[in-house]
Each structure stands twice: as structure tokens, then as C-alpha cells.
């Protein structure tokens, strides 16, 4: 499942942040990517929800410090859906 999440996120991040060669890491956050502003963050979250067919709660989203946190939440939601 980890690979599936990484693949999906990489595709979304490359598209949203307009960086075709971007490689995601667990520590990556808005301070690491030039085009990662609040609008890009919003688009990224909505595309993640659409891609993985999940819905985030506001307090889940507001607690995401970096990509690693995002992966954990996606993983837990996909596990719940199984």
C-alpha cells in the first residue's frame, strides 16, 4: 500500500507544484517547495481526496506538518475503507 500511496502522491505533487521531477520525502513541507502556497496546498489536498477516494476531517488536515504526516493519514483512511 505504501508504494501505491507514494506513486499517487508523487503524481499529484508534480502536477500541483509544476515540478515534473519532484521526489517526495517524509520531511518535505511548504517551506521546501517554491510554489507551495496556501492555494497549492488546498489544490493538493482536494486532489489527494479525489485520487484516493477519501475525505479528510478538518482537524486531520490542520495537523499535517509534512508529507510523512499526510501519508500516515491516507494509509489509515485506506485501511479503514478495506
Amino acid at each position: 500500500m505504501e508504494e501505491k500511496i507514494n506513486e499517487g502522491l508523487t503524481t499529484i505533487f508534480r502536477e500541483v507544484f509544476s515540478e515534473p521531477k519532484l521526489t517526495i520525502t517524509n520531511e518535505m513541507s511548504s517551506k521546501d517547495v517554491d510554489k507551495w502556497d496556501s492555494l497549492a496546498h488546498l489544490i493538493m489536498l482536494k486532489e489527494v481526496e479525489a485520487h484516493f477516494q477519501i475525505t479528510f476531517k478538518i482537524r486531520e488536515m490542520a495537523g499535517i506538518q509534512n508529507v510523512g504526516d499526510l501519508i500516515k493519514i491516507i494509509e489509515s483512511k485506506l485501511n479503514d475503507n478495506q
Binding site: S29, K31, W36, L39, H41, L42, F56, I58
Partner: protein, 218 residues
């Protein structure tokens, strides 16, 4: 100073705070980014901002807890938002994006993705550990009374009480907002950085094509 009371905003103040956010976003123009970027009507914008403030999520310009207000005779005269950046480990960029994701539908967000690259040209990431001034609005009947400065001073006092290590206050303003820039300079703020968009369409979506970051040592 006349008899103004300064206090943190409460849920009952949300209507004024929505007006604050809308007027501050417009920066003296008629361009409201929530309408131009997401295609929301004025009413939908008010509803979305109301829902966001009601969530009471801290740490960004759309957080109820960030606002201090000045009140006179039971009526609100001014509001100034400020927070300590990254205090809970999450950037204000991420918190604001999350709050918007919570209230905006996917189709409105996808509409915005067409111009996201243009909008991001004016983005300046806020520095962790500074007091960041967010949105500012003074009711027109109460202007010229230094309410912004009073509220910023109160924010600084309250923030320093939480953490003595705080040494800087930052603010970002659109380049067209000369009265605000002058007022911050008078207050002791210095220009730190300026970003400029060369896109011809930027002012279709945002009030101006430049944004200035200023700082004050405290």
C-alpha cells in the same frame, strides 16, 4: 486615546471578522480573490469564511483566535489578526490551505488550479517563530486613531508573555497599499523583501502585482 477596549475576538464577532477578511483581501480595490480565484459569489464567500472561523483552528490569518478587536460603546471599531508562525509545528500556509479545503467544493478548487502558478508568484513563506501580522481592518468611522498600532502592540505584549524568545514581527502587504506601508514604517517596520508578478493577468485575480514583506525588531 478615546475609550476603546481591546480584547480577543469571540464567536459572536464573526460577522465583523468576515468583513475584515473581505476588506483586507481587497486591499482598497474591488478585486476579491475568493470571487476571482474560486468563482464564489459574495454570499458564498461570506458563508465559507463564516464556516472557517467557526472551526476555531489556530495559527493562520483565517483563525478566530488570531484576531484582536478594538471596541467602543459595545461596537467593534477595528480588528487585527496575528499569530506566532508555526507554533504547533504546522505552517500558516498549510493551515490556511486546509481550512479552505474544508469548505470549498472540488469544482471551485479545480477552477483555481488553472491560475495557481500565477498566484504563487506573490507567495512569501512566513518565517517560523516570528509574530506574523495577518489581516487588518478599521471601520471607516474610527480611522486616524492609531487603532492598528494599539492592536499590534497588544498582540506583541500578549505574544511575548507566551514566549520571551520572540524578537521579530513580520507583515506582508500588497504594494498598492501605500497608507498601510507608511503606517508600518512610522511604527518602525522596515522593508525586508518584495516579490513581483510579471503576469499580465495577475490583477484579474489579486489586488496588485507586487507584495512587500516588512519586519520590526522587538
Amino acid at each position: 486615546m478615546e475609550d476603546y477596549t481591546l480584547r480577543y475576538a469571540l464567536l459572536k464577532d464573526i460577522a465583523f471578522l468576515v468583513e475584515t477578511i473581505i476588506e483586507a483581501e481587497k486591499s482598497g480595490t474591488d478585486t476579491l480573490s475568493y470571487t476571482t480565484i474560486f468563482g464564489l459569489t459574495q454570499r458564498q464567500t461570506v458563508e465559507a469564511l463564516t464556516r472557517i472561523l467557526e472551526e476555531e483552528i489556530d495559527g493562520c490569518e483565517l483563525s478566530l483566535s488570531s484576531f484582536m478587536i478594538a471596541e467602543k460603546d459595545g461596537k467593534i471599531a477595528a480588528a487585527v489578526g496575528a499569530w506566532i508562525e508555526g507554533n504547533e509545528g504546522v505552517s500558516s500556509t498549510a493551515i490556511k490551505g486546509s481550512l479552505l479545503a474544508h469548505v470549498l467544493p472540488l469544482d471551485a478548487v479545480r477552477k483555481s488550479s488553472q491560475i495557481a502558478n500565477v498566484i504563487s508568484e506573490l507567495h512569501m513563506e512566513v518565517e517560523k517563530g516570528v509574530i506574523q501580522i495577518g489581516l487588518v481592518y478599521v471601520d471607516e468611522n474610527h480611522r486616524g486613531k492609531n487603532l492598528t498600532q494599539l492592536l499590534i502592540n497588544q498582540h506583541i505584549t500578549n505574544s511575548k508573555a507566551k514566549s520571551e524568545a520572540l524578537t521579530q514581527v513580520h507583515v506582508q502587504v500588497f504594494g498598492n497599499n501605500i497608507p498601510a506601508i507608511r503606517a508600518y514604517e512610522k511604527f518602525g517596520f522596515k522593508k525586508m523583501k518584495e516579490v513581483r508578478s510579471l503576469s499580465e493577468v495577475i490583477t484579474d485575480y489579486l489586488p496588485y502585482h507586487t507584495k512587500i514583506a516588512m519586519m520590526l525588531n522587538i
